[in-house]
Symmetry: C7
Subunit: 94 residues, 7 copies
């Protein structure tokens, strides 16, 4: 089973928070910061969305930063995904 | 009797939550998670909605993920449906 | 006396709630569910509404489902009506 | 002295609530229902309002139903009027 | 010194409330009703405002009714003025 | 160092409140009214702002009245400025 | 690793608050004012954003003033950045 986003939607999968700090300390659950980075899993076709032409600019596999609180969390076969509009993606991490 | 949606509306029927977890545990009422998946029952004709041309992209029988809190719950002859705008449908599950 | 709606307005008359449940129990006042179904009594001419061309798609006599909380309740000669915009009508019941 | 409305504004005068109920009971002040009916006193010229062309469709002398809470109450020489936008007029009573 | 309004702004000067009621009673400060009438002192050039062409329709010296709570109160050399957008002017009093 | 505003922004410097009332009384700090007058320090280039063509109509050195609560206060080298959109400027004082 | 902004987004890096006041007093942590100045680190490609053509007008290395509360704070490899829309940048400091 897979998610096929509509319009300008993008399916993201949150990256797991780094378990080690810069200085080498290993973090346990609570101390880990919720990451804002995610991987692009699927990209909608774009086209006319809400009366405006939208061209998709991200692609599957890219690592992106997305706007906190944006999007809808979705669970499919036990795995969690976030579906956002492309306009909620702020930047690509290269 | 059947529901014929207007404009960009889509009639959905919520799928029943899975009664068994991945690990095989059988869930009772309270523990079942409210699913966000639904089946498309009827699709409006699209056309000019709120001054903007809308092309319908979902079709009857598809399983879709829709935005939580969107739509209006409707009861017809004892059965419950949800009527949403197509823009509240986030992705198709294939 | 009759109501002639302007623009994209539609005059509705709420259908009386069914007094008997599926299982045959007769319901009294309080237990009856407020129905979301209504009959179309009069339809405005459509045309340019709020700068956008609106084509009327419902017609007098149809049974429709309308958005809860939408519209204005109006009393004319003791009878109650609801005036809604066509966009607050979700589906026709056939 | 008279009020000459600008743009898509319409000057209304609320009709006095009926003092007798259907069953013939004479109502005193408090028991009278605030009517939603009003008479059209003056109609603005229409034209481009907020960047959109508005054509006036009501005319002086018509009895109309207007949206509760809409409009501004105005007092001129002791008489009370309500100034609304034409879009706040729901229907004409014929 | 004078105020030259920009765009679709209009400079108004509130008319002093009538000090005598219809029945001839002289009102003191507190009892006087805050009038909604004002005189047009200066009119902006109109033109493209917020992306829309606005044509000015009021002129200096007219008495107008304006929307309560609209506009900004301004004090210039001890005198008080109200600056409103033309769309906050409801009607001209003739 | 100087502030070069972007788009339809205008850099203003608030004028100091008059220290003497009309009747000649010298006011101390607390009694002075916060003035709504400001001097134009720098004017953005205008152009397409939020999809709409904006033509700049104020110029450096003019005294203007601006909308209370509008704009952002900015401190540069110990001096305070207010950056507003041109549409928050109500009138020029001549 | 670097941040490549999408659309009309701009990556900013907040400038450290000045540690010495005009009069030469050295400030400690708490007394330092949070600066509104930032340096431009990366600029999106512009283009059609939300249905409107946006031309990028800031460039990497410029010092800018941005609207307080705008933007999203992002942490990449221990460094903090702010991603804003170009329209949240008020002025360039030269």
């Amino acid at each position: 089973m897979k998610l096929v986003p509509l319009g300008d939607r993008v399916v993201l999968k949150q990256l797991v928070a780094e378990e080690t700090t810069k200085s080498g300390i290993v973090l346990t659950g609570q101390a880990k910061e919720k990451p804002q980075e995610a991987e692009v899993i699927a990209v909608g076709p774009g086209g006319v969305v809400d009366g405006k032409e939208v061209k998709m600019e991200v692609s599957v596999g890219q690592k992106v930063i997305y706007s906190k609180y944006a999007g809808t969390e979705v669970k499919l076969e036990g795995e969690e995904f976030i579906i956002v509009r492309q306009s909620d993606i702020l930047a690509v991490v290269e």
